[in-house]
Amino acid sequence: MAEGTLSVRKIVIAGVLSAIAIVLGWTRLGFIPVPTAAGNATIMHVPAIVGGVLEGSIVGGIVGTLFGLFSFLQATVPMFKDPLVAVLPRIFIGITAWMAYAGFKRVNEYLALVVAAVVGTLTNTIGVLTMAVLRGYMAPGVAWTVGLTHGLPEIVVAAILTVAIVVAWQHVETGRGEAKM
């Protein structure tokens, strides 16, 4: 059956992953309230990474864009009420994640997932902070601090989650492991 660039599968998965990103934001489960002007978005970018890894750059790009749009519409601080900060960098999260995944997939599946998560998170963090500085919401020094204090834990969490999610979903693993209980 002929289908366009966006198959039914890609449409639905993109929609569902975007919904997760929105739910994480809407219920505030994806946020750390933070005493600097930087704010939030700790795991809300993970759906974009997962989308890029599982279904390719188009889906990853769409999920990232919808995440960014939602972030913009919902924002109550000046920094995120700026489309160049909230939307623009997020478009690339899923795309860079997919590129990283595709690059490392031949080496090792788990490694590829971890690298994808790292790259996707960096895209988000560096992208947003760069735009924030360029637009004058943050001094460069502050941006560096925020980047390191938020960025590093975010990368770790994103990597762990991405692996856990993809592994759980794809039943990648058949056979047995060794439960530590």
Partner: protein, 285 residues
């Protein structure tokens, strides 16, 4: 005490029923004007331009019958951040920002503190722009249903279908996302409760106290994603069973109609934004 009611935290951006001129405009018009004015606001750097925009958007908000108190109440939790940002910008960003139209003038220097006319402008313009964008967002989302917006987006993208853009497919992504948000929110609440019932401690008070270990996050997030994917697989089958083959050859149940007000609004929005952008460097202050 824990509070599991996630639906409580609904914020700005909900449809407020009404019958104003703005409500009755076609979603495409509102989307387009939103886009135009957002562009104008994003790239306007002068006091004058931003002041004009604030007045304009304020007028539109009042015209639409949106109570200002509603918009402001959504801001309340964010006020500390806004204030902190403003203070930081004012006191410390003197170096980074050259003011619009004139030279940098030091107003105050003391240690790290460096207030210039540039940093003053930065603060004021940031705040004004923030208000403008807040009003614009409210104008869009408070006067249009989300389904209306997706239909509007699809209709606007449809002409690009000839260039290969999958317009309906993209709007369907948005529709699916909107459809699943309440379902996944409910599911998340169930997962929270189920995990809490077996001993996970997930304190959830107002602002969620974010649990700092990835494992604790995984307890909630992994089941959520698994559930979401399961639903996705079902929906894919259902859509295939209903013969969805993409946007080509589809008819449309919802029909959008332009009225005279739409043409007027569209044209004025376009002209205004074009003027603001073209003249952005010509404002006196």
């Amino acid at each position: 005490m824990e509070d599991f009611e996630l639906l409580r935290y609904v914020t700005v951006g909900q449809y407020l029923p009404g019958d104003s001129v703005v409500h009755r405009l076609d979603p495409r018009t509102k989307l387009s004007v939103f886009l135009f004015l957002t562009l104008a606001a994003t790239f306007s750097l002068s006091y004058a331009a931003n002041a004009i925009l604030v007045l304009l958007t304020l007028g539109l908000v009042l015209l639409a019958g949106i109570p200002l108190r509603y918009i402001l109440s959504g801001l309340r939790p964010a006020v500390p951040f806004i204030v902190v940002l403003a203070v930081l910008q004012l006191l410390f960003y003197g170096d980074a920002y050259t003011p619009y139209g004139t030279e940098t003038q030091d107003l105050l220097r003391w240690g790290w503190i460096h207030v210039t006319n540039g940093s003053v402008q930065l603060v004021v313009v940031s705040m004004l722009r923030f208000v403008v964008l807040l009003f614009l967002t409210s104008l869009l989302t408070n006067t249009t249903t989300l389904t209306g917006l997706t239909h509007g987006v699809e209709a606007m993208l449809r002409p690009f279908g000839r260039l290969g853009l999958p317009a309906h497919e993209l709007s369907l992504v948005a529709t699916v996302a909107l459809r699943f948000v309440p379902l996944l929110a409910e599911q998340l609440e169930i997962i929270l409760k189920a995990q809490a019932s077996r001993g996970a401690s997930i304190a959830h008070q107002g602002k969620l106290r974010f649990v700092t270990t990835a494992r604790q996050v995984a307890v909630l997030i992994v089941p959520l994603f698994v559930d979401a994917f399961r639903r996705a697989e079902d929906l894919i089958l259902a859509m295939q069973a209903r013969c969805y083959v993409g946007g080509q050859g589809r008819s449309s149940y919802v029909r959008l109609h332009f009225a005279r007000a739409d043409y007027v609004a569209y044209a004025s929005g376009l002209l205004f934004a074009a003027a603001m952008l073209a003249l952005r460097n010509r404002f006196p202050i």
